[in-house]
């Protein structure tokens, strides 16, 4: 049985990644999960300089989902490389550093620094963050801006470059193509869907930041749809995420076109979610006589040609 997949030149022993921001820097879950058993570890989003993040409350539960407004709190690339990377290097697992910036320069700076560190197998750039040079409009909502920032990062790194797309757009395939045209080796989707919840007793937003990102099973139908749209629009591999709770959900994403999947909110519900999902994928392969997991990628059967 072959579970290994290739994502932009990176060979992973299986298609299950941790979703950025939901698995800390790996340490926190090492007691529950054999990190070496994972396809890859994607770190919490990193920026050139540390970020304090948003004031609490930062999370709120919603029907079959949750909103978060962590505000990209992180210790910065430098401290990550010094303090966190050595721990991760002990394991036989590719480390993908997720990073972001609020300007093209910050993106480039973070990518450069991360590319010089030994032990990082790939980069995932999170473009669902506001661009201070463009009135705080989110990078990932305009294909030209997406193209610009991805191109700039592409120039400074030889590492496999994954671009993580925002679902808060009219046409995600357009954004995926912009990322591909700019040299991305893979795209990753979906990030959280912007949402909001109000405490009707206090009349205040339940998140101090007012809005936050919706994740969890509630958004899975949106994620699957977007992966399917992107899969048919680009040639680079797609990493699917959004509400994957078990092996069956992972298979659903792969049938829609994902080469690999990222597991986020599920870690909070079940700390062993990632390895449970790997086991679930194996079970499905056994039950369905599938030898190579890549063979099911985009294997959705559909007849209507007009779509």
């Amino acid at each position: 049985m072959n579970l290994s997949v290739e994502i932009g030149g990176l060979r992973l022993k299986n298609p299950v990644l941790t979703a950025s921001g939901t698995f800390g820097y790996g340490e926190e879950y090492a007691e529950f999960v054999d990190l070496s058993a994972l396809g890859a570890i994607v770190t919490k989003g990193l920026s050139l300089t540390p970020r304090k993040g948003n004031p609490p409350p930062r999370i709120v539960e919603t029907p079959a989902g949750m909103l978060n407004a962590i505000g990209l709190q992180n210790i910065g690339v430098e401290r990550f490389i010094e303090e966190k990377l050595p721990f991760l290097k002990q394991f036989d697992v590719p480390v993908i550093a997720n990073f972001f910036g609020d300007s093209v320069d910050e993106f480039v700076g973070a990518a450069e620094r991360l590319s010089r560190a030994a032990g990082i197998a790939g980069l995932e750039m999170n473009i669902s963050c506001p661009n201070k040079q463009a009135g705080w409009l989110v990078f990932g909502t305009d294909p030209r801006v997406t193209f610009e920032v991805v191109s700039a990062v592409r120039k400074v790194t030889d590492l496999p470059l994954i671009v993580k797309l925002s679902p808060n757009v009219t046409d995600i395939a357009l954004m995926a193509r912009a990322a591909e045209d700019a040299g991305a080796d893979a795209v990753s989707l979906i990030n959280t869907v912007t949402g909001m919840a109000i405490d009707i007793k206090t009349r205040r937003p339940k998140l101090a930041n007012i809005t936050g990102g919706l994740s969890g099973p509630a958004i899975r139908p949106i994620g699957v749809r977007m992966v399917w749209e992107v899969f048919r629009a680009v040639g680079v591999p797609v990493i699917g995420s959004g509400g994957i709770m078990n092996g069956e959900d992972a298979i659903e994403y792969m049938l829609a076109g994902a080469s690999a999947v990222a597991v986020g909110t599920a870690n909070f519900v079940t700390p062993t979610a990632t390895t449970d999902i790997i086991a679930g994928i194996r079970d499905y392969m056994t039950a369905n006589g599938i030898r190579d997991i890549s063979s099911i990628k985009g294997g959705l059967l559909w007849q209507r040609e007009d779509l």
Binding site: G21, T22, F23, G24, E28, Y29, E31, F32, K44, K52, G53, P55, P56, P57, R58, I59, V60, E61, P63, A64, G65, M66, N68, I70, Q73, G216, P217, A218, M245, T265, N267, F268, V269, P271, T272
Partner: protein, 254 residues
């Protein structure tokens, strides 16, 4: 011994309209907690409610764990209605509990409402006949009084409505006590609602009394990974689930 384990519900005692004690028996050996630590409980197998609920450890022995639960919303309702015989999964013990008292220090325990659950395990463990201030909205919200009285006679009860103990809030009661009594090297161990906590912290700061306070914040992972449960401290944002839930009073700026 994993901190993520399955357990059987082996008891569920309804204390009042709002409080119950859930007793569970882990199906495998599990790490022992210490006072002030907590667990995250899965309240349903469905995707709604999705997140685990944090509960302080109330009592434990080799074969079981007990939680005191105050009815708040859907999650605590499900925990209240959980029939014995059912299965539940838990994550814990989590976080840092209360440290033990130093030489010559006089521990003073302070509990507001269901905060008693967090403070309770200290009663039998911090010296003999420890001082406990315990307040709640009304007499019906004061739980486990017999068990508490069995361990200490230094119990100061108060209720907002005066239906039991003195009328008024616990922090004022404690302040009056400190005015009247000379306590050698007092150290406070406290858990209660936000209002109590901030009044207490102010009072401790004014009087220069050290203490430990357990905080609550919304949680997702419980293990320090999501950064969802931070509170502002003198050292910046700290995770309640990891650096807390018990913090030194002087770290807390509010």
């Amino acid at each position: 011994m994993s901190r993520f384990f399955q357990a059987e519900v082996t008891g569920n005692i309804l204390l009042s309209q709002t409080h119950n004690i859930l007793r569970i028996t882990p199906l495998k050996p599990h790490p022992s907690p210490s006072p002030g630590q907590f667990y995250l409980l899965r309240v349903s197998e469905a995707m709604d409610p999705l997140l685990r609920r944090p509960l302080s450890i109330l009592r434990w022995d080799e074969s079981s764990l007990e939680f005191l639960i105050r009815l708040k919303g859907r999650g605590t309702l499900l925990l209240r209605n959980m029939p014995p015989g059912g299965c539940i999964d838990l994550l814990g013990p989590l976080g840092n509990g209360y440290p033990s008292a130093g030489d010559g220090e006089t521990p003073i325990l302070v509990a507001g409402g269901v905060g008693i659950a967090s403070v309770y395990p200290l009663i039998g463990r911090l010296g003999t006949d420890p001082i406990l201030f315990y307040g709640a909205a009304s007499s019906g919200d004061l739980c486990l009084l017999d068990d508490i009285r069995a361990v200490t006679s230094n119990l100061y009860l108060s209720t907002d409505d005066g239906s039991m103990g003195s009328r008024g809030n616990t922090v004022e009661r404690l302040a009056a006590f400190l005015d009247e009594t000379s306590v050698p090297k007092p150290v406070v161990y406290a858990c209660g609602p936000e209002g109590m906590t901030s009044a207490l912290l102010r009072m401790l700061r004014e009087r220069g009394i050290p203490g430990y306070v357990s905080l609550e914040e919304r949680m997702a992972c419980g293990v320090g990974a999501c950064l969802g449960c931070v509170v502002e401290t003198s050292g910046g944002y700290r995770r309640v689930c990891k650096e807390g839930p018990v913090f030194k009073a002087r770290e807390l700026g509010f």
